[in-house]
Symmetry: C2
Subunit: 651 residues, 2 copies
């Protein structure tokens, strides 16, 4: 990226961001020590590593071998490799690198002469190759392997996987496209679009960008490719199990879409790819489309924890302001995909409102996907939990209860390596740079190396964020450097103090950033204090499910009540409007956590009775005062099982 002022913004790569302590150092340490090894073991146990030998494992667990889940095995290898690559970029580890190299060798060995790469179809179902783009995830797998290839190249300089994926991309481009003799097709689960733009950025080779553009332009065009391929398979298009191409954002040509819809992970990966292509091609229509979809999603369809997709049925969107709490799906992957999209939106349209959403999604409904210990995972991230509730409404059967308790693995384990790669890659989301303006996006303790018009400097950041809002920067530079430090004032922050070398500053806020432009010298310090009182969150009046209820937030963290701290029947708890809410550090709790305490009421009938319904004229309510204890939402379900609730009745 150019560093000339006025040039477009780009992320500062994670290799330049050394995390030096605090929140993310701890999360990355658990990721390296526990999560990455745990996921690798599961890849091995379930046959995913062995599958690249193109022989198939001897006796794989049968339920993991169903074609419905078998077809995305390759993506799990990809995401694990990507996570390992980010970790290696900042924390070299010979053993991990050897493991990754072996896996890459296996993947490379599985590639066919013509470039096609898939661990399933050539061996197990040759006639299925490219026969069902709607369902079979071949392009999705390719995308995740491409992201891994780019990450591994950046981390290690090794390009073996990058070359493999370039050849696979060329195979895809030779098979699909507008030209004579090619099919006009695209994958049912978007992901490859954003991955191809990464390939383009890494290699500078425009053919990857062209393929991404093609896949976006082709999506949803008539006559519909998925109709065609259904008929080719001897199926009736109307028998599509998901009932409508809205599920995979292919019901209309993309440029005609006006709202976020369908499967939410597919949607957000796709929208991220659209933003990438818009940025790289300068296509104004795609930029406008990106903003239209963004506004729809964030103004009508986003949960307070940054989760998206209320419905279990389509793993996706329903309609505006529909925010069920206990049955919310809010897949971990969807929050992560939203964070990815948000990050791209900022670089398309530098404004902190995108990063505010990114931060919301990362700290809340993404991080909740991982246990504190690092080896158990949530797929769904509801806003309330009640023991015994079956989120699918299937009362007469068992379901993977990992939807409400974290588990070690899933038949469709897309979420575990996704949260792992997000944590390993958090450095990528920390700073952006546009010419001589440096944006501080996520606050945490780190040292970032910057190049300002050819001048090198280090910026040291020190903070206990998100536990408090005190952030200090120190400049380390050989000489004076003229640059703007753009400090994000988060949307949740109404008061902040800013000083340079101890002198209070008054600066205007530009699109959400307090911009300090000056000649900086070695040893200069900046102190930013974001005020982080406990905030009561009011839902939009059209959200019927949480009317009359309040959520607690402090800084970027959404809080919740758990039964283990507050007793059962959380629906009967009411936080009076005038109740004072205090923050304190509970150093015994899950490694040290700022908890919120305060007086609340438990409002229940004054007289015990087995009657389901009583009349107020003959029975009454009693209010019992007690102290609530709220913990950060992302940490729920790490202790005794029980009820959980984000939205609390208020008065």
């Amino acid at each position: 990226m150019s560093s000339v002022a006025g040039k477009r913004a780009a992320p500062v790569p994670l290799k330049h961001v050394s995390i030096t302590g605090g929140f993310w150092a701890e999360r990355q340490s658990v990721n390296r020590d526990v999560t990455i090894p745990a996921i690798y073991r599961k890849l091995e146990e379930t046959g995913r590593i062995e599958s690249w030998s193109m022989a198939g494992p001897a006796a794989p667990p049968s339920s993991h071998q169903r074609i419905g889940v078998r077809v995305f095995w390759d993506s799990d290898s990809g995401k694990w490799l990507e996570s390992a690559a980010y970790s290696l970029a900042t924390h070299p580890d010979a053993e991990l690198q050897a493991l990754a190299d072996d896996l890459i060798d296996a993947i490379a060995g599985a590639q066919r002469e013509d470039g096609y790469l898939n661990s399933y179809f050539p061996v197990h179902f040759p006639e299925g190759e490219w026969a069902n783009l709607r369902d079979n995830h071949e392009m999705y797998n390719a995308g995740h392997l491409m992201e891994a290839a780019v990450a591994y190249h950046q981390a290690t300089g090794k390009r073996k996987l990058l070359d493999v994926l370039a050849r696979f991309s060329d195979h895809i481009a030779a098979t699909f496209g507008v030209e004579e003799g090619k099919q006009s097709a695209y994958g049912g689960h978007p992901e490859i679009e954003l991955a191809l733009v990464k390939m383009y950025r890494e290699t500078g080779e425009k053919r990857f960008l062209d393929l991404a553009s093609y896949l976006i332009d082709e999506r949803g065009q008539a006559p519909h490719y998925y109709d065609y391929e259904s008929v080719q398979r001897g199926e009736r298009p109307e028998d599509y199990w998901a009932r409508t191409y809205r599920y995979c954002q292919a019901h209309l040509p993309l440029r005609e879409h006006t709202e976020a819809n369908g499967h939410s992970v597919r949607a957000c990966y796709l929208y991220a790819g659209i933003a990438d292509v818009a940025l790289e091609t300068g296509d104004d229509e795609l930029s406008r489309l990106s903003r239209l979809l963004w506004d729809d999603l964030t103004q009508h369809q986003m949960y307070v924890h940054g989760g998206v997709g209320p419905s279990h049925h389509n793993e996706g969107f329903t309609f505006s302001y529909d925010m069920p709490t206990e049955t919310a799906y809010c897949e971990t992957c969807a929050a992560i995909a939203l964070a990815f999209w948000a990050h791209r939106m900022f670089h398309l349209d530098p404004d902190s409102r995108y990063i505010d959403v990114m931060e919301r999604a990362i700290y809340n409904s993404s991080l909740s996907g991982l246990s504190h210990a690092g080896d158990e995972f949530f797929y769904a991230n509801p806003l309330a939990a009640y023991p015994g509730v079956n989120p699918l409404g299937r009362w007469d059967e068992q379901v993977e209860d990992g939807h409400y308790r974290r588990v070690k693995w899933y038949h469709c384990p897309c979420c575990p390596p996704n949260i792992s790669r997000l944590i390993a890659g958090i450095g990528d989301y920390s700073y952006s740079q546009a010419g001589n303006r440096v944006y501080a996006q996520l606050y945490h303790s780190n040292a970032v190396s910057l190049d300002i018009g050819g001048q090198q400097l280090q910026l040291l950041q020190s903070t206990d964020y998100p536990w408090d809002g005190n952030i200090s920067f120190t400049v380390e530079a050989a000489g004076a450097v003229d640059f703007e430090l753009a400090l994000r004032i988060p949307d949740w922050c109404y008061n902040y103090q800013l000083s340079v070398n101890g002198v209070a500053q008054r600066v205007s806020v530009d699109k959400g950033y307090a911009v300090l432009g000056r000649q900086w010298s070695d040893g200069d310090t900046v102190d930013l204090t974001l005020s982080t009182p406990v905030e009561r969150v009011m839902p939009h009046p059209d959200i019927r499910q949480t009317a009359g209820q309040t959520a607690l937030q402090r800084g970027p963290l959404l809080y919740c009540l758990e039964e283990v701290d507050n007793g059962p029947r959380l629906a009967n708890v009411c936080i009076p409007a005038d109740s004072e809410l205090d923050v304190s550090l509970d150093s015994e709790l899950l490694g040290g956590v700022a908890v919120i305490t305060g007086k609340a009421l438990r409002i229940e009938p004054a007289q015990a009775s087995s009657a389901l319904y009583r009349h107020h004229s003959v029975a009454s309510y009693a209010e019992t005062v007690f102290m609530i204890k709220a913990i950060p939402y992302y940490l729920w379900a790490n202790r005794d099982p029980g009820e959980m609730r984000v939205w609390i009745r208020s008065s």
Copy 2:
């Protein structure tokens, strides 16, 4: 039934109850003029009448012909005939009787030599006969035809259908049973059990009761018959689409059941049959089982409108205190089946608590199943409705939106003829008699003919119930008659006045009845005034979905708010605890309805904003006072579509 004091209680048959005006006269008039003809037309249109020719209709609507719904066609004929019979019993109609006679002739003509009777299997799927008792509804159909046969015999004295069903019953008894050479089986959808007891009571022939007893005792026994028949069909028992025999109350032998579970219509029909058999056989264990299941259902699993079965997935029960509102299933048939069961429980254990539930279910979640005009039907009866909500959570497909707007017919049209037969048969639920005690169960204007130890008398009842609580009785008798008039004091009533011939009476209440025992003479009058203030209903503290909310009830009628009267965003409406609620007759509304009005608050953010979430420190709520108008729940969705809500926030 004997009329000697101390003998067991039995319903006074509807032929002896002449409805003379008021609420039920109007509902029965609509039923006769609109509903019964409308259902017959649908039976014709969909091929159900023609199906008895055993040739099959020329071109039936294909979606109505799927085996999944085709297998219960016969029950629809049965329920229509039963409804027609009750109507003919009190309102002779030569045209209707001719139509019924023709249908009975067709049914009789369809019976096979060996007694087997089914419009589907012999012609369309001979190898399916008795091959899938779990799913195929042959016994269920038999049960509904038996109920029709008994009703038609009582109404007209004609026994053709009764003889046909007796032969079918004998065929069943010859095929299934504990004896050598018979299969040990029972139907997946209970219903025949209670019908066989009706056959026994009508004919006095014990073989029908014995078959009912056998079917109850066999249910759920190991080795499991449904396992056996699955294997016979070449299927694996574990592939059962409903996943567990709990769905059809066959997971355990019935005497080991401790809670109401599975499909709620199946459950309540079955429990009604158990109570019937307990009463007729004097089986104390079955009596205790009945009370155990009753207490579980009414103390843990019953909605405030008398609906049961929260889940769409199994059309049935979930777990104690689980009462979702907007997604509640609460099938019309389940409320009706609960009313049937309640009525039987009273006769097993004469106590008004059963009739209180019966009244709750009839006036609220049963009657809501029928439009005011009489030709549209609800299948589900939710406690809240929001336009656009898909009750199945299936966002990417169309569903029969009759789950939220009444429609003319369903693929599975069990509810339309069920509500029709309940209304036509309401006279059966009005009085019971045990020796010289006469129980007044449901209050309405009628004249009932009674036989007290051989003495004949008429009791005239006059009331505007449920619109007010003033009820007057007049005795018409040739001479003095010694009997007890037991007047139900409903569970919702805390104050009442009672007078005989204008003289105030103080009587003790015995199991919910104010009992007036005396020598009655012609012209004696009784005036009962039940106080009917507007009551605010409090939910049990374990019902999390309605915590902090109140429902309005007056007399037996539950009320609701509709958008057409109260504007949108009903979730933001709050009824202050001290708000005065008035009752007035709205004579323009749906034929004249008592409505509830009063001051309420609409609590919404003071400042308009497109933000989904705002912090209370920078935004606030405003309370707008407005007058709410609540209408009886059973009348909702008869005007403009929009939101509906039973449970309203309260303060």
